[in-house]
């Protein structure tokens, strides 16, 4: 029987992931332990197992279009159980980073960027201030959070004033000097 050589469709994409997360990704034997352990796999369009295979095959567009990395709860069940010791959670992180640097825009990226910008400017999170700011541009999100916010308010668990944090100039340095946008490994 002839041996079939399969060339990954986008080998740069595959290599990128391997460099970031390790070459163990190539040894995935598709056992499905990761998918079976994943708490959110039923909401994913491609299971973790499928994503690893798609990475091996260089299916960059399909992988970056999938909702899988965004539904990863970073619970690390997959990573702890993978018999090939593939760092699957880190694969998901790498895909998120790659999506960001590829210019992909979605709700999660939007909120992540907003959250981090808030940290850069204020040091710590004041929930009221964070959500008020986010809610101004995304009123429907604000409405979703309102019941919980009110429950906390009633229990005296929602500090209204922002805490002032000193010496945070190096935080700005950190954000500026370090490439935030995923980029190469």
């Amino acid at each position: 029987m002839e041996k079939m050589e399969i060339e990954p469709r986008d080998s740069d994409f595959t290599k990128n992931i391997l460099v970031r997360v390790g070459s163990e990704v190539l040894t995935c034997m598709q056992c499905g332990t990761c998918s079976g352990s994943c708490p959110t796999s039923s909401w994913m369009d491609h299971s973790p197992r499928e994503i690893i295979r798609m990475i091996q095959l260089g299916m960059k567009d399909e992988v970056l279009a999938s909702n899988t990395p965004w539904l990863c709860a970073t619970c690390y069940h997959c990573t702890v159980r993978c018999p090939r010791e593939i760092k699957i959670t880190e694969v998901m992180n790498a895909l998120r980073s790659l999506a960001l640097s590829s210019g992909i825009k979605n709700r999660v990226i939007g909120f992540d960027c907003y959250f981090l910008e808030y940290v850069k400017n204020n040091g710590r999170i004041s929930e009221v201030s964070l959500m008020a700011g986010y809610g101004l541009k995304n009123p429907s999100e604000m409405i979703k959070q309102l019941p919980l916010a009110l429950a906390f308010l009633r229990k005296g668990r929602l500090p209204l004033l922002k805490e002032k944090v000193g010496e945070i100039e190096d935080l700005k340095n950190l954000f500026n000097m370090v490439d935030r946008k995923g980029g190469e490994a």
Binding site: W43, N93, I125, R157, P159
Partner: protein, 283 residues
């Protein structure tokens, strides 16, 4: 016993009841917590999208200010992020790049311990038993570890079958129940992306803990706590069922057993009424 203390944003925000109970029990146990001066956010659940350098830097900035002490935090997510910085700092290029940006350089040697670990490993169960004034006899608790307390590993307890929280609870006279969901994800990190998933995961957990015989759930993470306690009414409403399971921070249960009055532990700030748990104080 002295530690550099990293409370994290939640404990200074909507989980200030957790903070109240942390301070109360550490005072009684003689654990000195020195809050890291001008600490900043570790990035919480938003470190996945950014580069390793920035993720490490957010935590390294805080670890650099530990004044030579071991660092402790009561939040699973902060614990994970801080430990992850240590792991990432093993790369000299990353370490150098991050330190270039920081005002106080980080040597990469800060020891990071979850507060549960401090009590379990450093303070010790025997010493804890001596301080118990009200053994909460008859109370059955489902110890809930969550994900990042014991995973990805190299931690103080087993990623698959941890026992530390159970043993701490048993030391104060509480019976813990066995159930499958001790380390299953509560869904907290994805509530923004897919709220239905987050509610569904927490609901399963609440049901399994109840089925396992738990009168209450005990947790060691503010995000898990919000999912299980503050969002329990929403879960009940969405699925049309009554759950009514009190969810307490481990520091609150500990505090009760140490004889600290409930109002000094933030008990009145819980969303799901905890009367069921408090009734065991009288027994």
């Amino acid at each position: 016993m002295r530690y550099a203390y990293y409370p994290g944003c939640f404990l200074h925000g909507s989980s200030l009841d957790y903070e109240i109970s942390v301070q109360a029990i550490c005072r009684v146990l003689g654990i000195e917590l020195l809050e890291i001066k001008n600490w900043t956010c570790c990035g919480a659940t938003h470190t996945a999208t950014i580069t390793n350098e920035l993720a490490a830097g957010l935590s390294a900035r805080n670890l650099a200010r530990r004044d030579g002490l071991e660092v402790t935090t009561p939040c699973n997510i902060c614990y994970y992020n801080l430990k992850r910085a240590n792991h990432l700092f093993r790369d000299p290029a990353l370490k150098s790049k991050v330190n270039d940006a920081l005002a106080t350089k980080y040597d990469g040697n800060g020891k990071v311990k979850h507060l549960l670990e401090v009590i379990y490993s450093d303070y010790g169960l025997d010493a804890l038993k001596e301080k118990v004034k009200k053994p909460l006899k008859g109370l059955k608790a489902a110890a809930y570890y969550g994900c990042l307390l014991t995973r990805p590993g190299d931690g103080f307890d087993s990623p698959e079958y941890p026992v530390s929280l159970d043993k701490v609870l048993m030391a104060i006279g509480v019976e813990t129940v066995d159930y499958y969901y001790k380390t299953k994800c509560c869904g907290g990190p994805i509530f923004f992306q897919e709220d239905e998933a987050a509610l569904s995961l927490s609901r399963e957990l609440l049901i399994k803990a109840k089925e396992g015989g738990g009168d209450c759930i005990v947790t060691a993470c503010p995000l898990c706590h919000v999912q299980l306690d503050a969002r329990q009414p929403k879960i009940e409403e969405k699925y049309g069922e009554h759950l009514g399971i009190p969810v307490l921070y481990f520091t609150q249960i500990l505090g009760l057993s140490l004889g600290i009055p409930p109002h000094q532990l933030g008990i009145s700030k819980l969303i799901v009424r905890p009367e069921k748990v408090l009734s065991f104080l009288r027994s």
